[in-house]
Amino acid sequence: MSKKQKFDIARIIIGVFTLAVLLPLHFVIGENKLGPSDINTFIILPISIIVYILVAYDFFIKTFKNFKKKRFFDEITLTLIASIAAFCVNQAVEALAVALFFQIGEKFEDYAVNKSRKSIKDVLDLRSDKARIINNFNLSNEEEKIVDPYDVNINDIILVNPGERVPLDGVVIKGNGFIDTSSLTGESVPRRIKENDEILSGVMVNASPLYIKVSKMFYDSTTSKIMDLVENATNNKTSNEKFITKFSKYYTPIVVILAILIAIITPFFGDFTLASTWQNSVFNAASLLVVSCPCALVLSVPMAYFVGIGEASKVKMIIKGSVYLEKLSKLDTVILDKTGTITKGNFVVNKINTANKDISKDYVLALAKVAESNSNHPIAHSILEAKSQMILDKNKISNLEEVEGKGIKLNYDNKELLVGNALLLKDKNIEINNYDPNDVGTLIYVSYDNKYLGYILIKDEIKEDSVNAIKSFSKVEINDTYMLTGDNEETAKYIASLTYIKNYKYSLLPLDKVNEVKKIKKEKGNKVVGFVGDGINDAPSMSIVDLAFSMGNIGSDVAIEASDIVIMDDKLSTLVKGKKIAKRTIKVVYQNIIFSLVIKLIAIILTTLNTITPFLGTYIMWISIFADVGVTFLAVCNSLRLMLYKHNKI
């Protein structure tokens, strides 16, 4: 704590104690004149003035500066005027209370703002503050130097030791081991990393040191981008924020003018020759000035959005701005891309079905593997990844030919080997038998020496959480879910039935997808329609919908650019959690707006009435203090409350 902070707290404590002593004196002895009549003049007034100066001396300095800068509607200036007015009409305790509570309010606001800022920074700021650069890499005069990551250039070599965070994006050029990507993806299983693998900044190096060739400048690196996303991605304000900006613009001047009118004009409606008439009007005007700051609204509402976005980032959902948070809270219809969204997008050999019992599954797989050994297609990749006992000699391959859209034809050991879809075998009049109708997915048939051997079923696995997540969509008022896919009917049907999606469209070419999205959007009218995809292939669809989610491509600029919300952990359940957070946030926003407005309005009305007939007397000032500091306190607490929820369940 700095000296200034200690001093501020000390004077607030002194102020509170003084007030605690003076209040009973003021109300019991002073007001009801039970004690000596001059207790006010000789005890309350001097003590109040001394403590007031201690508490509020900086108001004078600030107001003086404000006047020089022609700022008359500043809250400190208005508070100062209100408290001096209260002194003038011999209400010293109220004057002290106005200044004291204002200071307490300020301190609390500072605390709350810092707390919410820190909370978002803790989760999101994965940026490192140093990088270990290696000069003359792999040469005899190799040397290590610690630098500011901003000073690292592309193609520089950096070293990251176990237990450290990778400071910049790059490619591993030496070393291998495990990295922990949980800070980015929420996935806590360590991932293997080897030479030539890309590595993103923000991940933790686990086992052994890695030498990385930097591929992006620090401000372009993934960690900086994630931080940027939340902080600067959009300057669009929500309609609520716009309303508050507009309201605040007029609110303070209107209340100040009303206060002046009350102070000057109202006495003429009563007996303006009496000092008490003037005292009453000035006191009411002063208490009106106390409610002249729209602080409760101006602070608590942006804070709620800020905290909401911060909470969403805790569940690995990065929302690019308050506008999208608000849209998310109203999300009605979700269009899901199948591959990579509902499913993992990595194809895996699910089953091998042989033509008869005498043929070994391992043999079929081994043949397919040798045929696909030089292919790059994701399907081929899945076959190559599958484990087989038998390994066939690649040197026995001859006349390898890729048949467009059908598969691969080659000679193995001088006998013809066919690996591909049904059409490939049909061309050679090879009959497929023993087909199991339950096998839905991509089927790769294998035939050798003109004999059908069997097929390999390749499936894209459904993500572990997809089924549960889609089931809980209705719980968070996502009323309609669509699935779009370029895959065949069987696969689409299969995935849809597992995930309880009723609306699905299959065999869609990229352009068909866009048209489908347009159709759904039109059908839904004003309801908020969202699209969830990988952000790269789906960019055209994403530009049509109200809310675009991308997942699976954290490092990609295109994906981040195309989407409004990035789901870093690639899970649909995050969508459910995010919508809950958004709904809760918007609820707090409305509560704060309505609560603040109603209380301020009541305070203004009561003050006006109190001017006409002083039925509340000097108590009006306490109402005003509550309507100002009290309401701000409650509204800000309401916004901070958003931090208290746990988000692990969907």
Partner: protein, 70 residues
């Protein structure tokens, strides 16, 4: 063009709003948004208004410092 400034030294949320209002009045500024929570001022303008914005900051509050970050 869009510029982003890191703003240090703003006292309160309402001051941030007032500051935003003033920046919005600069000739050439289409839209300025001051986010008090992230302390960033985002300005959409036809030309670079950094000098004008700095001038406003100087006359608005002592110790108000702007750093252009984009």
């Amino acid at each position: 063009m869009e510029s982003i400034y890191l703003v240090k030294g703003l006292d309160c949320a309402n001051c941030a709003r007032e500051f935003e209002e003033k920046v919005n009045k600069i000739n050439g500024v289409d839209e300025a948004t001051m986010n008090f929570m992230s302390l960033k001022l985002i300005v959409n303008s036809s030309s670079d208004c950094t000098n004008e914005i700095n001038e406003i900051a100087k006359n608005f509050e002592d110790g108000l410092v702007l750093r252009k970050i984009k």
